[in-house]
Symmetry: C2
Subunit: 207 residues, 2 copies
DNA sequence: ATTTAATTTAATAGACTTATTAAACCTCCG
DNA sequence: CGGAGGTTTAATAAGTCTATTAAATTAAAT
């Protein structure tokens, strides 16, 4: 039992991640994963025992990546600067992995156990919650100093996340319904990013 | 072949709608539907032939309901009034059917055919598109008159929808992770509704 | 009352799923 | 060389799912 993951194990996880991110958890069978890797289906179970377990490992990996990303910011500067940085950061990641928000959300909604699993992983963990607390501090100081209008941190957080997430979640509709090609989508995402920053920042102007 | 749907057919559709709205399309089997109604599983196929067909009928019913709802507004008054009305309207419907936004979105994302089906149903239909055009007129007039800052109608539309939809989509996380009971959720939704209106309206203030 | 038509059921085909088991295949160490 | 252990495979159990078929039942109509 190596502590190092074998080559094959990584390949399987990689393939599984791509397939799940592309088609969702339920629509991805262990047979699909094996076919993509080019190995036997039983091998997926040999390394991960259950499909659920495989999913959780992928999930945790992605959560860690996002948290680390956010944590890297020292949250310096004005709220405006921070909002801009957060939006930029999310957009740069999600532009590469457009379906991630949807998969993330859908898996958390359809399955109570997984929701609890994430709660234990993030919310119940002091170190991981720190990211939010730091943000809270910055926002409430800005409110107190009159730099921005009064707003609850949770509301501001929800606003930011809503606008970002939904942009990507609705992207397939934008493309198909308005018949946009890849180039137009790129431009749209860029404009949308700027507009989101504007909308948030403007909505925070003192009365 | 009656033009009027039989009693049983309606029961099946009703049961299917409830189950699908609660658990999603994939997680709802025709057997589940039949069990809920108390009839034989084959009867579901007798009336609707395929599960996909059953789903589409439910989908169209809900789309029509939403569009009719929005169309009922004459879009009079300031942009501020209209935004407030739209948000209120959505919240009043979605509070009763909290999972609707998620089911709606997830079904549109996971299945290309369904996305095309909706495109043909809404986007390609002049009468149904009218709702959006009317909104566009109001917004651009308000921009031209300097009543609100310059903004594309699509951006404003996306902002409104994002904030509303994501509130409901993330509700299960809010409840489980922050351990909120039903009463607290009610209050949260009320506050969130007001905050969304505030955020939108403030974000539109002229520079 | 008998025939016709619509509804409902039981049974089942056929295709997938996840997961397990035992056997085969390597690779490396003594 | 020979066995030991980790790796990979084929085979398959046991379950799910949609959809179809033919038979049974009910209702309506002449």
């Amino acid at each position: 039992m190596n502590t190092k993951e074998s080559e094959m194990q990584q390949q399987i996880m990689q393939a599984a991640e791509e397939l799940i991110m592309d088609r969702g958890f339920d629509a991805t069978s262990t047979t699909d994963i094996a076919r993509k890797v080019g190995c036997n289906q039983a091998l997926v179970h040999y390394y991960f025992r259950t499909k659920e377990n495989l999913f959780q490992q992928i999930f945790v990996k992605n959560i860690d990546a996002v948290l680390e990303f956010l944590d890297a910011y020292q949250f310096e500067g004005s709220v405006e600067d921070i909002v801009k940085k957060i939006v930029e950061a999310y957009f740069s990641v999600l532009s590469q992995h457009r379906k991630l928000p949807f998969i993330f959300v859908s898996q958390l909604l359809s399955n109570d156990d997984r929701r609890m699993f994430v709660r234990d992983y993030i919310v119940e963990n002091e170190r991981r919650r720190r990211v939010y607390y730091r943000f809270d501090g910055v926002v409430q100081r800005a409110v107190a100093s009159g730099q921005i209008r009064p707003i609850k941190t949770l509301d501001l957080f929800m606003n930011i996340v809503s606008l970002i997430i939904f942009t990507f979640v609705s992207l397939p509709m934008y493309m198909d319904w308005l018949r946009k090609d890849e180039q137009e989508v790129q431009a749209y995402l860029q404009e949308r990013q700027e507009e989101i920053v504007r909308s948030i920042v403007y909505s925070l102007r003192p009365l």
